[in-house]
Amino acid sequence: MIERTPVLNLMTHLILGLGLAIILVPVWLAIVAATLTLQEVNTAPVELWPGDQFWPNLKEAWAQSDFGPKFVNSFIVAVGVVVGKVTLACITAFALVFFDFRGRMLIFWAIFITLMLPLEVRIVPTYAVAANALSPFQTILDATGISWLLNTLSGIEVSLEWNLLNSYTGLILPLVATATGTFLYRQFFLTIPDELVEAARMDGAGPLRFLWDVLIPLSKTNIAALATIMFVYAWNQYLWPLLVITDRANYGMVVVQLSDLVPDQLTTGGGTPTWHLAMAATLVVMLPPIAVVIFMQRWFVRGLINTDK
């Protein structure tokens, strides 16, 4: 379809340019601030063009926040969440779609409901569970009298304890406990033609074989999409690591570290605010997920639209 609309085309570019400018202005100001010296960044008419201090600033901010091990931690957690989620979501959706058994819909809904309440909403009790991940089971054993029974019969006192505070497991597991990926997979598995399943069965393939040799190769795009979304989600976590990790030196994540860089009375002690360092750190922390999104753009957009999240 060919239309000649020169005026409208010009307008389109103008509107898009304006929109993009609005999006880029704060980032541009941050970039500029990150390249100035302490003195320049605090002079009243704000500098609009970058200086040449980016590397020194970055080095100083990096050393000050001890970013090295924290970047490693962020990567471990992000990759852990990605792998955990992709695997769990895949096998759960597989069991729900390709098997017929009683209680299937019940389990489906039990998982579905977890979409409703994000971690932030139930943060206080989730934290209590993380302090002892086995406490739910302990309580159940106590309440049902099994603890008492075991104690009187064998003399063993049941006390289950698994502290997840200050550990990678504690960071990763609660982030995996949602249904996001399960639905992406389920929707995809529902589009697999019945004939394919029948053909596989006729050739004598068992369910696991079918999963490994047919479904997983077919769902590569799905995996890519889910992995991108989960990487960004895990990397950007703030409230959860803030609570679970008190031992920041060993388990701190980069995004949480940003809160220490806010130049206020607490961090500068009334001195000149170190905006140049704060902005350099912000930029470098933002970078990995942005790179992943740009690199994986095609799959990411498709995945986001299919999961509704």
């Binding site: 509107i15 008419p45 139930r122 009790p125 912000t282 999104v293 639209i305």
Partner: protein, 293 residues
């Protein structure tokens, strides 16, 4: 749902167990725990919790600070949603015209999706800073007029703008996908009837976007309740005078700084009900949305 199945075997429980265990431990148990805490009160010197019925809720609901928090959360939710969706819709409509440079425009608007909320907060904290950012211009003219840490309305404006900035790309992705799902034949038929691009936007594309619009409306409002913590914590810290004390932020500060688990749990339950109500509304619209994609 499917015609062809595998026979049920011992594999199925094994496949389902990991996910069920994880959601039981980290979703169902904590949610039940919140419910328990909301209706009980911990004894100050140990000795377990005592049942107090609706006392915790009564206390929360008669607390003027709580209503202040609800008020600013609603303002924040509505303002960020309107700003972000308005901007996302406009940009999506024009990007969808697919002129030269279409891919550059698209990626330029998508990437903020990947930026962490506290990073957004920190960047805007600099932008809005009275001493160093662009607002220092205003303060050289009339000193002290712009200061986030003194004027509540300025702090609210700042978190709204930062929040909206963060939400634009999410809505944009959905609007653009919905626009591209509109069948070409429809657009061409409209063009044959003499509808110019702008006319088609108003009479063809906008009506077809209604399901996406409602879906995003609910998602944006829900997200603004839950996703705002990082922005508030780095940008305003809930102040000044609790002016930006959003609901999740208040739950956090009551629960973990004030150690009032029962009060925080009661607030969590109220927020849970709110989010669930919004999600139920959303599911109704998802059904409608499906017909177009």
């Amino acid at each position: 749902m499917r015609r062809a199945h595998f026979k049920f075997s011992w594999i199925v429980p094994l496949l389902l167990a990991p996910q069920l265990l994880v959601i039981f431990t980290f979703f169902y148990w904590p949610s039940a725990q919140a419910l328990y805490w909301a209706f009980t009160l911990e004894q100050p010197w140990g000795g377990g919790n005592t049942w107090v019925g609706f006392d915790n809720f009564r206390k929360v609901l008669s607390d003027p600070y709580y209503w202040g928090s609800v008020r600013v959360s609603v303002i924040y939710a509505l303002a960020t949603t309107i700003l972000a969706m308005g901007m996302a819709l406009t940009l999506a409509l024009f990007v969808d015209r697919q002129l030269a440079g279409y891919r550059v425009w698209r990626i330029g608007i998508i990437w903020p999706y990947a930026v962490a909320a506290p990073a957004v907060g920190l960047a805007f904290q600099f932008v809005f800073n009275p001493g160093a950012g662009i607002f220092s211009y205003i303060n050289t003219i009339s000193p002290g007029w712009w200061d986030l840490s003194k004027h509540p309305w300025q702090a609210v404006t700042a978190i709204v703008i930062a929040g909206a900035w963060k939400q634009v790309s999410y809505s944009f992705i959905f609007f653009l996908a919905a626009l591209q799902a509109i069948p070409r034949s429809l657009t061409e038929a409209a063009a044959m009837d003499g509808a110019r691009p702008l006319r088609r936007m108003i009479d063809l594309q906008l009506p077809l976007l209604t399901p996406t619009f409602f879906f995003l409306l609910v998602i944006n409002i829900t997200d603004s309740f839950t996703d705002s913590f990082g922005i508030v914590d780095t940008l305003t810290g809930g102040g000044p005078f609790r002016a930006t004390d959003l609901m999740v932020y208040k739950i956090y500060s009551d629960g973990f700084r004030g150690f009032d688990y029962s009060g925080a749990a009661a607030q969590s339950i109220i927020l849970m009900c709110l989010v669930m109500a919004l999600t139920f509304i959303q599911f109704r619209y998802i059904e409608r949305r499906v017909h177009y994609t």
